[in-house]
C-alpha cells in the first residue's frame, strides 16, 4: 500500500516531502522511546509517535521508514521539518490519538 493512500483515507496533514508519498508502506510501528523504535521497527514501516523533535527524523532515516505520523494534532518543530525535508522523510499529522490512528491504518492495510 502506498503512503498517499493512507494520507488521503486518514485525512492526514502532510508537513513535508510530498514528492515521496508514493512510497510503499510494508508495516508499522508505534512508539515514543527512540531506542525501542530503533530495536524493533523495520524498514518500510510507517512510524506513529507523539515526539516532535528532530531526532525522530534521525531515527526514521536510520531505520528507512516510509514516513512518520505525529498524533494528537501535535506539530513538528521547525527544525524537525527542515531536517525531514533534507532527508526526504515525509511527516504527517493526525488529530487522532495513537490507538485510533493505528487501528485505522491496520484496517486499511489488511481489510481493503
Amino acid at each position: 500500500m502506498n503512503l498517499d493512500f493512507i494520507v488521503e483515507k486518514m485525512e492526514l496533514k502532510c508537513k513535508c516531502c510530498w514528492e515521496n508519498l508514493r512510497r510503499e508502506v510494508s508495516g508499522g510501528y508505534v512508539g515514543d522511546l527512540l531506542s525501542d523504535v530503533i530495536a524493533n521497527s523495520n524498514s518500510g514501516d510507517i512510524w506513529v509517535t507523539r515526539q516532535v523533535h528532530q531526532n525522530i527524523v534521525a531515527v526514521a532515516t536510520l531505520k528507512e521508514h516510509a514516513g512518520i505520523i505525529i498524533i494528537q494534532g501535535a506539530q513538528p518543530d521547525k527544525d524537525t521539518i527542515e531536517k525531514a525535508a533534507k532527508e526526504g522523510m515525509p511527516i504527517m499529522v493526525s488529530s487522532l490519538p495513537a490507538f485510533e490512528v493505528v487501528g485505522k491504518i491496520y484496517h486499511l492495510m489488511h481489510y481493503t
Binding site: 515514543d32 522511546l33 531506542s35 530503533i38 523533535h53 531526532n55 525522530i56 527524523v57 532515516t61 536510520l62
Partner: protein, 147 residues
Amino acid sequence: MKSESEFVGNVSIVGHGFEYAGRVSNEIKKILLEQGIPEGIVRRVAVVIFEVEVNIISYAETGFIRYQVLPDSIIIEAKDKGQGIADIELAQQEGYSTADDKIREMGFGAGMGLANIKKFSDVFEINSEVGKGTYVKSIINIDKKRS
C-alpha cells in the same frame, strides 16, 4: 596482530549536540552501501553507530568512532572522554538509565542503548572508567548467506 583491512574510517564527535544525532551513522551507512556491503549488515552497523553516537552526544565531552571493514566482518570502536560508567553490568540491563531530563526530552535515555548495541552485534565489548571515559567495541560478521 595487525590485520589487513579493506577500508577504515574515523569520525570525531563533540558532545552535547543533539541536533547532529544520526549524522555519523547516516554518512557511514552511505559509504558502506557504496562499498557493496550487504544491506542487512549495513543496517546493523548503522544501528550500532547510531547508538554509540547518541551515547557520546548524551554523556561525553568528545569522542570518536572508528570503523574497519574486513573481508568477513566490520569492527566498530567508539572511545570518548566523559563521565564514564560506574556499573557496567547494570548499565547493560535494559531499562537502567542515568539519563537526565534533557536527554529524555529528546526521546533517548530509556536505558536501551547498550542493550541495542549488544543485540545488533556479534561480539560486544565495553570498558569504562568513571571520570575518564568509555570504550565500546562491536564486531558484526559479514555472513553473505544470512544477509
